[in-house]
Symmetry: C2
Subunit: 494 residues, 2 copies
């Protein structure tokens, strides 16, 4: 940070917690020490996000929005409040979300509102009544829009910064098509966007599932979601995309006149990447026992420059550092020159804990020799680079770091899925942090009680069926013994 930091002893910024063995402690402590969020706000589940996380999430939003816009989505912004009468128009939807809704019923000194307003838990019921006004003819379709905002849900599960909060940051994309086929193509596009952004840009590997009928988006036809694996062996749901069919169109009167001059219902999809949650997943996946390890693409400061001086040669070295700062910035990098009044050792520890991918160290000897020391955080290794090649080398290192972080995360996915044929085997595998594939009666509503039994007996949740591979089981349902119609995947989850 450029201001307001306390510069204490080195001990204060040395982070060392085993991520693997003590993940909950690791997570809580890194949020506190790296100043990502402050849980002392005083309202359960509402957490101030601090500069180091906000700046990273800005970069993450920017990457995601560029991809969405390239694919023809345009941004808009709806109010945070939804009239109660809108919310109740889709029966399944209102049943799914009402328990979580915060209500505004008065303002000022006790003035009652004519109608209660919901703080949006998600915006279908805010947006679709307007879509009903905007969409008239087949020429108005497809309509592809998104908004970037916060949403509010009174979660019953225990909250944790970024991973589960009562107000979180997301993008919600809401799209309207003439046919169901086009809607399904959009779902496919959304899943590709997930791969492109979450995995290729943020470096987070995911597995994509079609959720069961009892775990789908309330009011929709089908939900497709990406799960990643957290260090404690539980999975975390990352973006989900929903095929809404024409269910919401019927409830909200989203109709158009087709080329045959008939008035028909439109088909809709929505997609909701929650950036704050993805951020929580990203730091968990990439971090190590020494703190954060931010990908070069995402780090607020991609490079920090630390001057090393003893008294009289300070000016010369700082000037040298400024020249390096300028040239890296001109090359389009986010750079911070740390000329604060603290020891180099303190600064090293501080920025390692904060996860800055590359550090450039500049001392008297380096100035004389036209060289600098370049440190990469992911491997904690150091090399000497000649000044004239610095920009090129830093850029190359940035790519290497991103590639290495992603590969390391993907390696954890290998051998992650195991088969089981009894609930006992399921539980054993879950205890080892595995995702378990089991033959299962059905992911339609009839299978719900078997899903609940799995949950009760093993703590694992049915995450759904694979959509990228055709899988035909031959055995019987691991719970009820009926002929298995599907393989489903079971995991403990956030």
């Amino acid at each position: 940070m450029s201001d307001g930091e306390t510069h204490g002893t080195e001990a204060e910024v040395i982070f060392h917690i085993s991520k693997k063995d003590r993940f909950p402690d690791w997570y809580g402590e890194i949020c506190r020490v790296a100043e990502l969020a402050d849980i002392r706000y005083g309202v359960k589940g509402f957490t101030p996000f601090l500069p180091w996380s906000v700046m990273t999430m800005e970069v993450m939003f920017d990457i995601l929005e560029r991809v969405l816009q390239r694919k023809g989505h345009l941004p808009m912004l709806f109010p945070s409040v939804i009239p109660e009468s809108n919310l109740t128009r889709e029966t399944e939807h209102v049943q799914g979300f009402t328990p979580q809704v915060f209500w505004i019923s008065e303002y000022g000194e006790g003035v009652k509102l004519e109608e209660r307003l919901a703080l949006r838990p998600t915006s279908e019921t805010a947006i679709y009544p307007m879509y009903s006004l905007w969409i008239r003819s087949w020429r108005d379709l497809p309509l592809k829009r998104y908004q970037r905002c916060t949403v509010f849900r009174s979660e019953v599960k225990s909250t944790r910064p970024f991973l589960r909060g009562r107000e979180f940051l997301w993008i919600e994309s809401h799209n309207v098509f003439a046919t169901h086929e086009e809607g399904l193509a959009q779902v496919k596009e959304d899943l590709e966007t997930t791969k492109e952004v979450i995995t290729e840009e943020y470096g987070i590997p995911v597995m994509v599932f079609k959720r069961t009928q009892w775990d789908k988006f309330p009011g929709g036809v089908n939900t497709y979601a990406a799960d990643t694996l957290m260090p404690d062996g539980k999975v975390l749901q990352l973006p989900s995309t929903h095929d809404l069919g024409d269910n919401f169109a019927r409830s909200f009167d989203v109709k158009y006149v087709n080329k045959d001059n008939e008035t028909v219902y439109a088909f809709q999809t929505c997609y909701g990447p929650a950036i704050s949650r993805i951020y929580g997943g990203m730091i968990s996946v990439h971090g190590d026992d020494n703190g954060l390890r931010l990908p070069f693409k995402l780090a607020p400061y991609q490079v920090v420059i630390v001057p090393i001086f003893k008294g009289k040669n300070m000016n010369e070295i700082v000037q040298h550092c400024r020249a390096i700062e300028s040239s890296l910035k001109e090359a389009g990098m986010r750079v911070y020159l740390d000329d604060r009044d603290a020891t180099p050792g303190w600064k090293y520890n501080y920025w390692e804990m904060k996860g800055v991918p590359i550090r450039v160290e500049v001392g008297q000897r380096e100035v004389k020799q036209g060289k600098v020391a370049v440190f990469r955080r992911d491997r904690m290794s150091r090399e000497t680079v000649a000044l004239e090649g610095l920009t090129k080398r830093v850029r190359a290192l940035g790519s290497e770091i991103d590639h290495a972080l992603r590969s390391e995360a993907e390696a954890r996915f290998e051998g992650l899925v195991v088969d089981a044929e009894s609930l006992g085997q399921v539980e054993d595998a879950l205890d080892k942090g595995k995702i378990v594939r089991v033959p299962f009666c059905t992911s339609q509503m009839d299978g719900m009680s078997c899903g609940e039994e799995i949950k009760n007996k093993t703590g694992g949740e049915v995450r759904g069926t694979r959509i990228d591979v055709e899988e035909k089981p031959t055995g019987v349902c691991v719970v009820c013994g009926k002929v298995a119609q599907e393989f489903v995947y079971v995991a403990r989850s956030y």
Copy 2:
């Protein structure tokens, strides 16, 4: 828009309303026709913002945030809700804001919250309790932070898209200093930021006033605000910055240990540029009778390319357009190739109404001659440009357009201020759309009744005293006849 637009007859997109004579109609209609906002949402004062305004506001935010970050402010994000007990800790502040606060008192199906939550009307009372925890020593100061968010106020005045809504978009910067002098220096910096961003980047001229004691920010010491002039002769308040002294520090216990090891209160300032309101002012100041005129710096599409073809030569011309699109985009410009199925004439009218600063027209003849027609929206004039010089010419035209729009707006400020020595003269001048300078007893609380009389008799509001010039009046107060201690400026306002 790349999708979802209706392509009707040319009449539908021809806009023509006298901005000068019928400004309220002009404003309402351009918001509707250019698809900036939709007032049919159904909750008073809450308005969906549509892509064409959201994309422009994104650019405006980006410019403002870069300046703030360059000046050492870092972004953060606090919750949208504030516990009632926080809100009531600063007495004047709570009195000023409580009438406007929306309250959340329950969630789900009738579950009461232990403590009511306010939807933030502004975030001092959310943020300062945390500042009290974060700030310990003089080394933590200055602390310069900001957040970008929406805030909620149950306005009693009639609402209008962007200009006055019950939820609006802004940045709020909250800063803490060791001394009052540093706080006052921050106020000065904020006023410079206003000039740099609002006037130099957005092209909106402003006059800066120190507000009267009865019109300052509730709980603060002094408020300094910029006003611009709207086409109907009323002024619109743009960013205001507040010297909070140590008032809030005392209420929220924001203390630090100074270099002498004494625990003392800190001094605070805050600054609140409301981007949605500034957007409303920007389109009003720059628009003309034919619709929007967006500055080149702010337009979502700085250049639209319109192909002109008759049947068989379509492919050749569209390919030619794509090459132009690529080269302009590579030069860093925001470009839209309008290859929709509509006539060139319809597209011309459409983009003129939408205010795109530059249009490139490409037909058969142009392709053959290696030239294109370039149209600039501000002057509605056309020139022929050779392809090889196009990028350079477009960039130069962009600068010319921004300069011309700003000069035109500034010209309206000339001769705007007139002197008056009686309430009758004040009213006459206000009727002519002037800002009126009058000798006045005092802008301290003792002058409040005189201010109210001016308001009741002329409809004008006392906007405060000038801070950029020393002014010493010799006459008597235009209302009470006491010796005038100040010149104040009176205007009708939004």
